[in-house]
Each structure stands twice: as C-alpha cells, then as structure tokens.
Symmetry: C2
Subunit: 267 residues, 2 copies
DNA sequence: CAGTGGTCTAGACCACACT
DNA sequence: GTGTGGTCTAGACCACTGC
C-alpha cells in the first residue's frame, strides 16, 4: 500500500522532513499510514469529538473505523500519548488528557520548594489583582497571533506558598475564545487555571514555551511580593498553545527564588 | 512465556511501579521481555561494548543473540532512542549517542540569543580561568555521591558570545574518573566539554538536572562578566549523570540574560 | 466474565544508504 | 544488489479493570 492518503487535503510533512519545497520530479513526501491515522484522531480531539477526561474509542473500534490493523492505530496513539495529548490506562481505555483531575496540580509550573516535595506545601493561595478587557498592543498581538488592536483580556494575580507571596504574573488571553471570563469567576474557582479554561471555554492547553531571564524587581512587583525593589527575580515569559500550535495565552511572571527554584530536566 | 527473566540478578522495577516493597503473597513484579532486552543492551552501553558514535549490532543480530523476535528488540531500542541513549538512522544502523559530531554543539545548553537562531552567533569563545585539584566539601560531595574529603577537580571558565562574556561557571568533577584532566588539555580542545569527557575519559553524560534561580552578581562574577556588581544573573546549578544515574559533574553557572534567554519547552 | 490496553511473534514489504 | 531501519498486518496470548 504505497502512500495512500486518507486525507484529501494538502499532504502533511513527516516529522524529520526539511521544510524546503520538493523540486519538481522528486518523490512526494512519504507519510506512513499511522501518521495519517494520528492526524485523523488529532482532528477528533481538536473538534471536541471527545472531551478532556473522556475515553476515546478503543483501539479495535478505531482500527475498524479507519480500516487498518490494530497495530497501526496503536502506533498512532503511542505518539499522541508521548505528546501528552491522551493518557493510556490498561484495562480501562485511552483518555483525552486534562489539566483537571491530575496527579500534579500545575502541570506547567516548574517552581519547586528548596526542601521537600511540591506537594508538601499544600495548595497555592491565589489572589486576583485585576482583570480587564483591552486592545492588544503590537507585541502582545504578535505573541497571540492576533492583529494589533484586537480585543484581549488581561489579568494580574499573585500566588503565595505558605503565606509567602512568591509569584506575580500577568496573563493575556485572546478576547474571542475567552469571552465572558471575569475576575469573580476566576476567584471562585479552585483548581488550575488551565482546568477552568477547559471546562468553561473548551480551550485545552497542550504545550508551552518559556523564556527565562533574571531581572531586578520593579516597584509594583516588589510591593506585591513584599520585597525591596531591585531584588533579583526570575522572569518567565510563557506562550501556551492549544491544538494545532495555536497560541492561546501569553503569561509574564516574576518568581521569587530565595526559597524556591525552577527545576528543569535535560536529556 | 510468563515473565521469564533473562537476568539472574535482582529483578528490576518496571517503569511505573511504585517503590513500595510488594507484600508477601502478591504477584512478583512483571517485566516485559523487551524491558529485559533493554537492560541487556544498556549493560553493553555501560560496559563500553560499543563506543559513542559507533553502531550497535543490527536488530536482526540482537534478536538472534537474545533469542527473541526482531519486534521485541525494536521496542527495546525504541525506548533507548527516546531517552537519547542511541540514535537510529534509517538504512545505516543504530548508533551510540555522542556529544561529539552533533548537530547542535551544546546539547544541554538552553541559552539562546534573543534574536536569531543559536547557530548564528558562531562558536562560543572559551577561557579557562583555573583548574585545580582539591578535596570535596560536604555539599559538593553530596551532589557527586562522594564522601567528604574525597579528591575532586574544580575548574572555572568563562564563555563569551561575539566578544561578550556571558557565562561564568564552576565545574566539579570526581577525581577518580577524571584523573589526568588539566587546564591545558581543556584549553587545546575545541568542541563541547562533554565530547572531550567521552573521548578522553570514557564518561558519557546521559541526562542532567538543573535548578534555576535569580541572583545578584557578586564581585568576582561581575568582574569576569564585565558588569556592575548586583546585576541580576541567572544562577544554574546542574548535576549531570552518566549511565545508571551516576552523578559525574556538578556545575554552578551564572548567565547574563540581557541579550540572551534560557529557553524551555513544556509539554 | 468480557473488554480494554500491553506484549510477542512471524512474515511481507517499503524507504534509505552504500557499494 | 544487499543490508539497514521503518511500516503494516494478523493472530495469539497476557495483565488489568469492572461488571
């Protein structure tokens, strides 16, 4: 079965393929069957055919639906599981990943207490400082793939651990998908912000990129964290993406790192 | 074939298995065949049966050697490849991962220029400040899994990008495995330090953990980086591990982040 | 017990690299 | 052409979950 495409749309690039357009006469991009199946399942996820936390159809069902062997479906799901888009549970099924009902409360938060495990601190105390609607400046728009002046939602909050304010962050969200989000809705909700985004707005964050710097605390941040201005803080700029690499959140945070540290694993 | 062990030694824990000892009467830990094969290949890697950059035997050969099907060997190698211990190259073979001959010069360095790709800067200029033999203090020893007072090698160096000193770092290495390392040997070598470790000392770094903080530049660091003291800097403490999770390097670095940033991908 | 994901096998064929 | 890893299939059986 030589490169039969299940997809009538434009061919998608295989993983390691260079982005250079193939010269005329060259072999068209080869796409293994399981990659095509993966894209089909991915579309189901994007379209919300199965919601976060719900099971997707069994491997046998999907194999029958797509007319391929179970092994091919398995390999497609393997990759989705490796990307944390779905979670396999033996004997039960394969489930759409979710930020709610997770073992770790904050999947994307890498800040750890210097001593003791992350769980030992108890939940973070959260305080919304403000939440307002405004028009995207040029750089905010660029990060969110919007046009300058399009409506965005901005909110500022402080996270404290064991009574010590540790994180102050500004969050920008595209106005469209998050229409109706208010400070009071956020304040009432207990649980990760990304879980609320899933439940209330159907936006599932899949991955994120962070740029980390060291900066001196400015006056507003210093006040919110109860520190003298000029204190060194970690500056974290995060862009979070939903399916299809669509940016859905920009977050600029400042972390105190006198009792905590940002933990990163390299391999 | 119910849980036949190829290994006569103590049973190894499967990936997700909790570390609690199984109560008497419970089913003994189940280990899939491919996991056992993986451990066998891993032993070959640790023992230096195949050196970094060299090919390991073909899947067919390994399947014959271990008396299992090619598919089982494949799954074992798949996991080793996912952990970056080996690299598969279609049509050529599977090769032991190496820090030399890599596409990216520094596999573990996450510092990126704010504009332009990492390659656009050209190679980092390196300067060894000093390199001395001494006895491990308590905290250094703990990080390297040594006893206090055991011999260690300490070196300090500065990395500059396009003429701007950007990183100052102290490196501690266990004295035993790195016997004979000198400042002049390091100065002569062009290429990643971890590549030299492979070639000269047979030590292959497999993974690393980093703890990141924001700190104020102290006087010595400020002088070396050409900055006023008190300037915020990124503090990176890294422990690098070779096979078997054995720590082989402690590194404490300070990064300027006015023209560069530390990039991290979350998923 | 039935249904799920997980393992293992054997064989056929494809894509790629080298010679 | 030969040998490598990569894909795909079909079938058997195992481990785990829940009815």
């Amino acid at each position: 079965m030589a490169n039969i495409n299940f997809l009538s749309a434009a061919p998608f690039a295989p993983p390691g393929e260079p982005e250079t357009p193939a010269p005329a006469g060259k072999t068209p991009a080869f796409s293994p069957l399981y990659q095509q199946i993966k894209v089909l399942i991915l579309r189901g996820l994007q379209a919300g055919e199965w919601k976060p936390g719900e099971p997707i159809p069994s491997e046998m069902e999907l194999a029958a639906r797509f007319r391929v062997s179970q092994g091919t479906v398995r390999k497609a799901i393997d990759e989705l599981a490796a990307e944390n888009l779905v979670v396999r549970r033996q004997g039960k099924g394969t489930f759409v990943a979710t930020h709610a009902e997770q073992q770790v409360q904050y999947r994307f938060l890498r800040l750890m207490p210097d001593s003791g495990d992350p769980g030992s601190e108890g939940p973070a105390e959260r305080q919304i400082i403000n939440c307002k609607r405004l028009r995207a400046s040029a750089d905010i728009a660029r990060s969110l793939a919007l046009k300058t002046g399009e409506p965005v939602l901005q909110l500022r909050r402080v996270l404290a651990f064991q009574g010590t304010p540790t994180i102050v962050e500004d969050v920008w969200l595209p106005g469209g998908p998050f229409k109706g989000l208010t400070a009071s809705r956020l304040a009432v909700y207990s649980g990760p912000m990304y879980a609320l985004f899933e439940i209330e707005f159907g936006v599932h964050m899949v991955r994120a990129e962070e740029k980390i710097r060291a900066v001196a605390a400015d006056l507003p941040a210093a006040k919110l964290l109860g520190l003298p201005p000029g204190q060194p803080l970690l500056s974290i700029e995060r862009i979070a993406f939903t399916y299809n690499d669509r940016p859905m959140e920009l977050r600029r945070a400042l972390y105190r790192t006198d009792t905590h540290h940002y933990k990163n694993l390299l391999s």
